[in-house]
Amino acid sequence: MTSYVTLPYPFEPTEAPPEYRGRPIIDPERCIGCGACARACPPDAITVEDDLQRGVRRVKLDVSRCIRCAFCEEACPAMAIKLSREFELATPNKEDLIQIVEIPLVKCAVCGRYTNATVRQVAKANAITTHLPQALREEMSGYVNLCDRCRRVRAASRIYESIPIFHKPSTKATVGEVHGSKT
């Protein structure tokens, strides 16, 4: 009886062992676009950038730079990125190794421009504060929809209002105007 030593691989399919770390794959249904993976990634294979014209955040995963360290998987708060067991990645074109996930951004409730938070991030922020008292929740949910600038203006005006000697009823009405005049 003859026994074959050689793996018949390219002619017959084979699978990687269960502990194998293959290419990472982002689950577009779960990713919230927080960029924790991009911060954790040692070779910067994952990059996150905001496209303010189109109102999307692009999470770009370049597998040709990935070193399979699984730091992204450790860092992900939404359990969206996972290392798969896929290994047949050889390609003549490097662009084939890129995965891009686009997540819509939130529009600022005051000035109407796109903010630096995604819709899912805001939904998540609202979801994890369900245990807080109603008044505090309302106060907080007023801030999550704002862009950085409007948030600062709003916080400053709230502090201003809370101090009785400075209090003027007209302050609240000028929030939008201050923002508009400076930009």
Partner: protein
């Protein structure tokens, strides 16, 4: 690469790799993987080679050596194969002062084989693609996500526990161990005194398993779970009610 390639003679060039990829290439040449049945032969000089098998990022030190090796090859077909993440794009060293980047900064690359290091099968797949036996399987994906958020109930609690599991369990077994503990927690929360019944369940699990490491992990996770509950309690987060709800939802 106008005509189909039959038997590729390969010159192996290391432009600054950590030797990981080189060892995988050695593996490919062993009788188990046997790249020679695809016509591949390793040669000692670039003058005899059809293909340049490059591993490692292109360092400043090896820039001219790589150029000379390429120029010494016969004018046709002059194939360049980039093996490993570093040769493909620079990898972890991409922004180092002494590294130019991937080999594609200097030479036209015919096939990229990423991986850190790539499996021998992965290298075989790349060679098979060059010879024309298989087609590529990957392509660029652009996915537009919907605004809806998809979360699991009690996601934060499981993430906290995963953080704790990480301290004592390795990468591979972690999810499985955590899922076992999850089942125990949810089972305990259908009962009257969940904390005590969880302790009992953990003890029961430990007496059943013959692996002392699993026993240690479960007991460790139990103590950490209590600490996490205390922490949630301090921040007025009523996690136990949510746990009970979830447990009943699962049970029914």
């Amino acid at each position: 690469m106008g005509r189909k390639l039959k038997s590729i003679w390969v010159f192996h060039l290391n432009t600054g790799a950590c030797n990981g990829c080189d060892i995988e290439i050695l593996d490919v040449l062993t009788p188990y993987y046997d790249a020679e049945r695809l016509g591949v032969k390793l040669v000692g000089s670039p003058r005899h080679a059809d293909a340049l098998l490059v591993t490692g990022p292109l360092t400043r030190q090896t820039y001219y050596a790589a150029k000379k090796a390429y120029e010494a090859m016969p004018p046709s077909p002059r194939i360049v194969i980039a093996v490993g993440t570093c040769a493909c794009s620079g990898g972890i060293f991409y922004d180092s002062f002494s590294v130019h980047g991937g080999i594609d900064k200097l030479l036209p690359v015919h096939i990229y084989i990423p991986g850190c290091p790539p499996r021998p099968e992965e290298i075989l797949f790349g060679i098979a693609q060059l010879v024309g036996l298989v087609n590529k399987k990957v392509k660029q994906v652009v996915q537009r996500a919907s605004p809806e958020l998809k979360t699991e109930p009690l996601e934060r609690l499981w993430l906290d526990l995963r953080e704790e599991t990480r301290r004592v369990v390795g990468y591979f077994d972690r999810d499985e161990v955590l899922n076992t503990f999850k089942e125990l927690v949810l089972k305990a929360y259908t009962r009257y005194d969940p904390r005590r019944s969880l302790e009992k369940l953990v003890d029961e699990y430990c007496s059943q398993t013959d692996d002392p490491r699993l026993c240690f992990v479960m007991k460790y996770l139990y103590t950490r779970f209590l600490d996490i509950l205390e922490w949630y309690k301090k921040s007025h987060y009523n996690i136990e009610d949510m746990l009970r709800e979830e447990a009943w939802r699962r049970a029914t």
